[in-house]
């Protein structure tokens, strides 16, 4: 299912960071879904945000200086 689309995950230091980012992105009209950090990706915390590839740059711009994130990884 996921292989059909080009997904990225945004990783955060803490759940609070992830939930803050979810809210900031929602207010900016950027779609991102909170999901458990996939097992094969080194985890900073248990929750990350998943987005489609076309949104990656928009997400980086929107979170810049608003919410610290660790990194964005290809899923």
């Amino acid at each position: 299912m996921t292989s059909a689309r080009n997904y990225y995950v945004v990783l955060f230091h803490s759940v609070t960071h992830a939930i803050k980012a979810e809210k900031v992105l929602k207010e900016a009209g950027v779609a991102a879904k909170a999901i458990p950090v996939p097992r094969h990706i080194s985890s900073d915390c248990g929750v990350c945000l998943r987005c489609v590839g076309s949104q990656k740059e928009k997400i980086e711009q929107t979170l810049f200086e608003k919410v610290d994130f660790s990194r964005i990884a290809h899923l």
Binding site: V15, T16, E22, A34, G46
Partner: protein, 384 residues
């Protein structure tokens, strides 16, 4: 006969319906462990906790909601600030009106090698900020000050002290147990570095909730009191160094924090100015009323605007505990007698060790209840 609840400085009661509804909703619908498990109920629980952080930062003029650490009450928040920050050889300044939530940890640290200066206050509980500079020394690390006394309600000159502390590069920690939700607080305007608050008083949340605001960067100098699971960095066996996880080990009181968030949003909706106006009017009516009764000694300021809605008094020839029993049994009035966990404040105002009767009014009290209470006091005084 309805209960008249005048013990809001201990715990506010009743709570707004919204507080109880938020807790019921959490219990019935959300339930999950906040953020730990990443299923939808767990994430929803994390969102509810985050929304409470956002509401609190709006109330206190804080720019970043990650600066709020949840604790079980103001006492735990103050313990983090005191034990986490201070080191042997540090000098600390505090006031003669502090609660034991500040004094006991400070006295313990004093025994462990910090130096403590207690600034004397007036008999009415007032502190002159200009008394502080002569006490400042090279090793003065922090000032711990209550925002308002829990005994007399006297509001302390927090903004003035904050200005002095900032100019001298001293960390300023405010105990807002009596004021958060009752009078306006702005951590930026008041130069507050650490703000300890409780959820179950004027923030209109349940017991078991509270928190500590930590100014950006200060967490580097404050060790956590408690370490453990945070839901983050699970591969590490060391405590994370970032906010808020550094200080939030173990599952939070999510149901309580859900209620606290609703309480804070209720305050934001009503307006803290409106709340202050109503509570000041109630306290003013009461102060004027007891001034007209012979045999009553009022403590603290003789006007309401300089205090929170807390009024301490004594009745000639009747101990506070006797009076409290009469208020409860004969008049259905719930008040608090005694020392109110603040022996130092009672020494300052001259009521140690006997204590006082303390009536503390809240947003849900009514003028007719004040009238009933004044009649009750007259009857107790005249022995009827």
């Amino acid at each position: 006969m309805d209960i008249i609840y005048f013990d809001n400085a201990a715990t506010s009661w009743p709570k707004p319906d919204a507080t109880l509804e938020a807790m019921n909703r959490y219990n019935e619908i959300t339930g999950g462990s906040p953020g730990r498990s990443a299923h939808r109920l767990s994430i929803e629980a994390a969102r509810i906790i985050f929304d409470t952080r956002e509401s609190l930062v709006e109330l206190f003029g804080i720019t970043d909601s990650l600066r709020i650490v949840f604790t079980k009450n103001a006492t735990e928040a103050l313990n983090i600030a005191i034990f986490g920050l201070l080191k042997k050889g540090d000098h600390v300044i505090t006031s003669g009106m502090e609660h034991n939530s500040v004094m006991r940890p400070l006295r313990a640290m004093e025994a462990g090698g910090i130096e403590l200066s207690v600034i004397p206050c007036s008999e009415r509980g007032e502190m002159d900020p200009q008394d502080i500079p002569p006490y400042i020394k090279k090793n003065t690390r922090a000032i711990f000050l209550t925002h308002a006394s829990n005994v007399t309600g006297t509001i302390m000159p927090v903004a003035e002290v904050g200005k002095i502390a900032r100019e001298k590069g001293i960390i300023f920690c405010v105990d807002a147990a009596q004021t958060a939700g009752a009078i306006p607080i702005d951590v930026e305007e008041m130069n507050i570095d650490l703000l300890a608050f409780t959820g179950h008083k004027s923030l209109l949340g349940p017991q078991g909730t509270g928190g500590l605001y930590i100014r950006k960067g200060l967490e580097k100098n404050i060790a956590p009191l408690c370490m453990g699971g945070t839901g983050s960095r699970s591969e590490w066996e060391e405590q994370p160094a970032f906010m808020p996880d550094k200080y939030e080990s173990g599952t939070l009181n999510a149901i309580g924090i859900a209620g606290l968030g609703a309480g804070v949003r209720y305050i934001l909706k009503e307006g803290i100015g409106e709340i202050r106006k109503k509570e000041t009017a109630l306290a003013g009516t009461f102060i004027d009323g007891i001034a007209a009764i012979d045999g009553i000694k009022l403590y603290g300021l003789d006007n309401a605007p300089g205090r929170t809605a807390v009024v301490s008094f004594n009745i000639n020839g009747i101990s506070p505990s006797e009076a409290a029993l009469a208020f409860d049994e004969k008049f259905n009035i719930m008040e608090r007698p005694g020392l109110h966990c603040a022996p130092l404040a009672h020494r300052t105002i001259g009521t140690f060790p006997g204590g006082t009767n303390r009536f503390s009014f809240g947003y849900f009290n009514r003028p007719d209840q004040i009238k009933t209470a004044l009649e009750a006091i007259e009857r107790i005084v005249t022995g009827l």
